[in-house]
């Protein structure tokens, strides 16, 4: 073996990527060649330098990614699974720690300090934690270790739905991403308090975003008296065009037919371009005729 070949192989040699024959030839050459031995030493120094430069992603970024992934997976599951299978997410079954992180993140984003969404209510120092998640394990000097725990505690709230604390919990319950039962109960109780703007916003959110047909239907019922509000009409127009459930689309048509404005007319015309359901088509055409608008756009 000449020195050029030996130099080429030194890099692969340190990675253990030479064949047995190649390795034998190289070590044979190294024994008799001081320059190539020096090159091998330099290559080892390069490896040490590269090892020293090894960087790991910061824990904060790892945790951020995990929480976001947990949320994305919950979303994927909601999109993919029929309603019945989501029962697996009812409480009592152990859920992954990141789902907790996601819950806490979602709840934290939605309600003020001290509150967690739906049944995962605020911390109670006296209670036993309902879920514990090890956040960090940090070895310390003297063989000790520092462990940071995220604990979620359960607390029972009782009172009338109008009590501010209960109402706040119900509003959080509407956005509970994991339990349609909690959302349905929350919406059902809140729809009687729809005179409050905050409650209407929650109902509009549920109507437009909830994956569960029953929850959306309840939210729509709660908004019945507020169709004169522009925001309510806007959401109903979107529901009209996007909701996958024809029953809910039909209710949206009925409500909007009594509150026609330019946007609603546009929504009905748009609906007629795609809608297959005869009842919905008929209702839309009649609603448009009633205000003298053409059934089609040109």
């Amino acid at each position: 073996m000449n020195c050029d070949t030996a130099r080429e192989r030194i890099a692969l040699y340190l990675y253990g990527e030479l064949t047995a024959d190649e390795e034998e030839a190289l070590t044979g050459h190294l024994k008799g060649c001081r320059d190539c031995r020096a090159a091998l030493e330099a290559e080892k120094r390069l490896h040490r330098l590269l090892d020293a430069a090894e960087a790991m992603p910061p824990e904060a970024l790892v945790e951020e990614c995990r929480a976001a992934l947990g949320r994305a997976i919950s979303e994927t599951r909601r999109e993919r699974e029929p309603w019945g299978r989501k029962l697996a997410w009812l409480p009592g079954l152990r859920s992954p720690a990141w789902a907790w992180a996601a819950r806490i993140a979602v709840a934290g984003a939605l309600v003020g300090a001290g509150f967690l969404a739906g049944r995962w209510t605020a911390a109670d120092p006296a209670g036993e934690p309902a879920a514990v998640q090890v956040r960090y394990v940090e070895p310390e000097a003297g063989g000790r270790v520092r462990i940071v725990l995220d604990e979620t505690r359960r607390r029972v709230l009782e009172g009338a739905p109008k009590d501010p604390q209960i109402r706040e919990a119900l509003l959080a319950g509407v956005r509970n991403p994991f339990d349609p039962g909690v959302r349905a109960e929350s919406v059902d109780l809140l729809k009687r308090m729809a005179s409050a703007a905050e409650v209407r916003r929650a109902l509009l959110y549920a109507l437009e975003n909830d994956p569960n047909d029953g929850v959306r239907l309840k939210a729509l019922e709660g908004l019945r008296a507020y169709v004169s509000e522009p925001e309510c009409r806007r959401v109903l127009s979107r529901v009209l065009l996007r909701d996958r459930n024809p029953g809910i689309r039909a209710k949206a048509v009925d409500l909007l037919a009594g509150a026609m404005d330019a946007d609603v007319v546009g929504a009905f015309q748009e609906l007629l371009r795609f809608e297959q359901n005869d009842y919905l088509r008929l209702r839309s055409v009649r609603a448009l005729e009633a205000v003298g608008a053409p059934p089609e756009t040109f």
């Binding site: 890099a11 290559e43 330098l49 090894e54 960087a55 790991m56 790892v62 992934l69």
Partner: protein, 202 residues
């Protein structure tokens, strides 16, 4: 067709303890055990994030690749063939997504740095927690970063996977959809460039 198609299962078979743990977790996750899936993610996600950071030099993009990679794993785990290497499959998804991202960037004629947070600010050097490694000064680290940025995507991927992730060249060939020989050439070129760039320190 989306790159990183999880349908193309790697042929490489690994029987390391980590791979055996993976197999048990994958089986459980395929049966719907969410906790097992989470453990599977946690076993690999730091490496995934590291790889994406190294290849993309942008924390924002690395975050996106992390999420999309594991979502693809989640959606396609039922198709995973036991006997193939989960790590190879996962890394194939990650490297393909990174390559897609770089192509998009090129199309947008963006700076590789992405204009976002500085990578160096976000990565924690192990040197800081290891006194033996404190010898590596910021200046050398910067030179090394600059050298790595000059490597081609494939050279950087091969170097990263071999040096920092410990994959064999044969597995790297599987990950990148190339031959072991091509991976070997990439590794050779990458180390040659690093050696030339850091020659005065060696």
């Amino acid at each position: 067709m989306l790159s990183g198609d999880p349908g193309e299962m790697p042929a490489a078979v690994s029987s390391t303890p980590a791979a055996i743990d993976d197999a048990a977790l994958i089986r459980a996750a395929q049966r719907g055990d969410e906790e097992a899936f989470e453990r599977l993610v946690r076993a690999h996600d730091r490496a995934v994030l590291r790889l994406a950071l190294s290849l993309l030099r942008s924390p924002e993009d690395a975050r996106d690749v992390y999420q999309e990679s594991f979502l693809r794993v989640y959606r396609n785990l039922h198709r995973f063939r036991h006997g193939s290497s989960f790590q190879t499959w996962l890394y194939r998804i990650v490297t393909n997504l990174c390559l897609d991202e770089l192509r998009k960037r090129k199309a947008r004629r963006e700076e590789a740095a992405g204009g976002g947070e500085r990578l160096e600010m976000l990565r924690e050097r192990r040197a800081e927690s290891d006194p033996h490694r404190k010898l590596l000064s910021g200046e050398i680290a910067e030179r090394l970063e600059a050298l790595l940025e000059q490597l081609s995507f494939r050279e950087r991927a091969v170097f990263e996977l071999r040096h920092y992730h410990g994959l064999r060249l044969r597995e790297i060939g599987d990950v990148l959809g190339t031959s072991e020989e091509a991976a070997k050439n990439c590794l050779f070129r990458a180390t040659q460039k690093l050696r030339a760039g850091l020659g005065d320190l060696l």
